[in-house]
Amino acid sequence: MTTMGEPGSAQREADDAVTELYAAHWQRLVRLAWLLLHDAGEAEEVVQDAFVALHAHWSGLRDPAAGAAYLRRAVLNGARSALRHRGVKERWAASVRGGPDDPGARTGPSAEESAVAGLSRQSILAALGRLPTRQREVLILRYYLDLGEAQIADALDISPGSVKTHASRGLAALRSGTEWT
């Protein structure tokens, strides 16, 4: 039954699609954003924005798989810009504090500790946090979302070859960063 003032069929279709994609992907994407941002509120914001954008673009996608890929791209872009924004604020805060701005300085103990205690999750996460953005993104997409190379390449808008390179460099850096051997 359609009456005046109700959303049109395209609108309803987008509502349905977003509702379905939400059920399938919301939690995992928020957690993906959380892994990238480490801020619960920001993570939900970024993923919510991605779903709202998906709704607006649904008529051009009309395919759940394409929708999921769209969401991943939007979340990664959103997280990256949130981090950039945060970087500005943090540099400002650091300059005010006069504190050290070198993440390595803060994480020294965990590397030291890992040598003693073996590989702790904390030391892995700390080492992951020290990686260049691309390497960190690739590793999280591969080992948290379990995406394949092609999907990662699509999500980050880079070539599959670069995915391979980032992944292997990232893993190598984690190994040395956590004093694995």
């Binding site: 919301w26 957690r31 801020d39």
Partner: protein, 373 residues
């Protein structure tokens, strides 16, 4: 397994458990309302201030490095230390026990074999988030949920969602996590009969309605305890939870009807209906930290976003102060307390909110024992 494979395995585990620390709120309604220009008016009235608040969330330094001391926010199975003594009086016990579903108190329902039988394989037990009810401060009528991370041998990351849910609910109903006190035993006399999980519903069958000795709001929170626990264990978002009482009763505790679905609150800023205003997320209970600066992190939804803290050692206050959480009482924010470098020993961190009316009273608090080696 070569080094690469071990690294990958460890990375997967670290990411999974870090991710599981976050229970996303439900925002479908906001998304749809925001996406529909014609209908957004009603939503923006309350939604936009929330978005604005989130935009100015204070960001702690160090994304991954908020815990620069080597403290681990996730109690992995092998290092989930559960002291056997009360955290309030003696935070000194080390990681001597393996958490199990077996409650030591008499009268508690026994966990089923699914929860307590060690698996023959060497699968790493997964840390299950389990929620418990306790009074939040000096007001005995105000009970809310706290979260513990518990592992059960045989319940691994590969366990199916039904086993995870069953185990977690049994722990929630029956167990007293070692090293805790003050958790209310609202489910005494009730047993978990069955859990069924589909994509659209979690159905929890209980043996009966249970007692009626608690305030009605505490009964409501007890039902929510199982809702949060089941949803977290299943890990697929806010799937509505239905209850069935095997004896045919119509309301849990006589007050919470079973002819409706239950869910966690629709958004993070409503979580205060269910969750205690102050949580300590790390260190985890009884965690043994390495050398280096100690940072306490947690969540708070308190007046003017200010939480007070005390560092305790054998009951004595070694240090104290207050910090500001990332958000005011309107939403649940995060806070971080830098304790500096501590000498080896047993400690407890008490995080609390003094009453706004009476500085003597405490309106919300929690204490977490840990040690430094």
């Amino acid at each position: 397994m070569n080094d690469d494979e071990r690294m990958v395995e460890a990375l997967r585990g670290a990411l999974d458990e870090q991710a599981a620390l976050l229970e996303p709120g439900d925002r479908l309604d906001e998304i749809l309302a925001t996406a529909r220009p014609s209908r957004s008016a009603w939503a923006t009235s309350w939604w936009l201030p929330l978005a604005a608040a989130a935009a100015v969330v204070a960001v702690v330094t160090g994304v991954w490095l908020g815990l620069p001391d080597g403290s681990d926010p996730v109690p992995a199975s092998s290092d989930l230390p559960l002291p056997t003594s009360s955290p309030l009086t003696s935070p000194s016990a080390g990681p001597t026990t393996t958490p199990s579903a077996g409650p030591t108190d008499s009268g508690a329902p026994s966990p089923t074999s699914t929860a307590s039988t060690p698996a023959p394989t060497a699968g790493t037990p997964v840390a299950l988030p389990v929620y418990y009810v306790a009074t939040i401060g000096d007001d005995a009528r105000m009970a809310r949920l706290y979260r513990e991370w518990l592992t059960v041998p045989g319940v691994t990351r590969q366990a199916d969602d039904r086993l995870r849910a069953r185990t977690a609910i049994e722990l929630a109903m029956a167990a007293v996590p070692p090293g805790t006190d003050g958790y209310l035993r609202t489910w005494d006399g009730v047993e978990l009969v069955d859990v069924a999980v589909t994509d659209s519903r979690i159905t929890i069958t209980l043996s009966g309605p249970g007692g009626t000795a608690f305030p009605e709001d505490t009964e409501r929170v007890s039902v929510q305890q199982l809702v949060w626990t089941a949803q977290a264990a299943v890990g697929r978002g806010t799937i509505p939870v239905r209850f069935v009482l095997a004896d045919g009763s119509e309301a849990i505790f006589g007050t919470q009807p079973v002819d409706r679905a239950y869910n966690r609150p629709a958004s993070r800023d409503l979580y205060h209906y269910d969750l205690a205003p102050i949580w300590v997320n790390s260190p985890t209970r009884g965690q043994e930290l390495g050398s280096g600066p100690v940072t306490v992190t947690g969540e708070a939804q308190v007046y003017e976003a200010t939480v007070s803290w005390q560092l305790l050692r054998e009951g004595d206050v070694l240090d104290e102060g207050f910090v500001t959480a990332s958000d005011g009482a309107a939403s649940r924010g995060t806070y971080e307390i830098d304790l500096g470098t501590l000498s080896p020993g047993a400690y407890a961190i008490r995080v609390y909110e003094p009453s706004a009316e009476d500085g003597e009273k405490v309106s919300a608090e929690t204490t977490m024992p840990f040690s430094v080696r």
